[in-house]
Symmetry: C2
Subunit: 188 residues, 2 copies
DNA sequence: GTCTATAAGTAGATAGAC
DNA sequence: GTCTATCTACTTATAGAC
């Protein structure tokens, strides 16, 4: 693998595991096997590296979500497919966890990928809720934008409650409740 | 204020703002105006201080929530009262944010207050959903435990999406959606 | 209880040779 | 592009005097 690539991948892993404040350049160098000189040659320090890593993680999450959103079946089923998708629950969300990092939220260039991901996600979920409403699957009194924001929040918050309990159970319960609330009937 | 008290309050502020990894003993000393010797005399280092601070924050959140839960009115209204309560949205949750801190989740003594808070919260919300269901306010097909977990998650996740957008709007939308989903009709 | 001194290791780079 | 050397400040304490 090329040097910049190895640096980005090592940074993605560390940001996911430790967050921005908990990730040191030294740790990135050790995990990637790259030397100090190379790192500062290819990237503008820790912030530049984090920016590249976060952009890639956000893009991957959007691609993965879109695969569920544009899949087959009725709108509520595609929402369910996204909510029930396999996840490394106790690791949390590689992008969402950075929203609790002071240096990330305070730096517009680091916060941008987070804003883009969650803005897109809320919109996309709102579209599906609107579609489900038109199709009569979802209660017509519900506001698609609001419910889209709720569904995006449930996933992020479910990671918080699961990590606090060191168990996937709170995550699964939160998703189950969300699906019941939008009136999705589990098959089988 | 007494010395241990000042240390705990300074630690609470810093943990809320910066998280565990982002909070140094030095910063705690500066904010509290206490000296190094005093700090290590009263507490067992950074972890001990964080433990005391987190326990207090969790207790405060439980007390504040219980005031809404045991207030007057129907169950759904008490849930709404809790969800709509005044919050420093862009600061996030002082306890929930620590669930993304590696050193917190990995240390049973630091994770305990988080587990207690969110375990209690899910149970308490589930109780209210069950009560609302019995009273006919809430759809009888809903599972109280699952919906309780969903409501607890919505709040935590709403902080994530709001901080990512540097705006309270995503938080408010998520809460609005949650209230619509449990069938709460806003008055006025 | 509080203070000052001390200390090994890390954080986050920069400089300049190769 | 990569390496080694170097640097200032911070991290997380401990020791022992007052």
């Amino acid at each position: 693998m090329a040097t910049p690539e190895r640096l980005i991948e090592a940074t993605r892993e560390l940001l996911w595991e430790r967050g921005y404040a908990g990730t040191s350049p030294k740790a990135i160098l050790q995990r990637s096997g790259v030397g100090v000189g190379s790192m500062y040659h290819h990237f503008d320090g820790k912030a530049g590296l984090a920016r590249a890593a976060t952009e890639r993680s956000a893009q991957e999450l959007m691609d993965a979500a879109e695969a569920h959103f544009s899949g087959p079946g009725p709108a509520t089923r595609r929402i369910a497919s996204y909510l029930l998708r396999e996840r490394d629950v106790l690791r949390g969300c590689p992008v969402g966890r950075l929203a609790m990092d002071y240096d990330v939220v305070e730096n517009p260039r680091l916060r941008a990928p987070l804003d883009e991901l969650f803005g897109w996600l809320r919109t996309r979920l709102a579209d599906l809720v609107a579609e489900g409403r038109s199709a009569g699957e979802i209660d017509a009194r519900l506001d698609p934008q609001a419910v889209g924001a709720t569904l995006a929040a449930v996933v992020q918050g479910a990671y918080v409650t699961a990590r606090s309990a060191e168990s996937t159970e709170p995550f699964e319960a939160a998703v189950r409740g969300a699906l019941q609330l939008i009136g999705y009937e589990e098959e089988c």
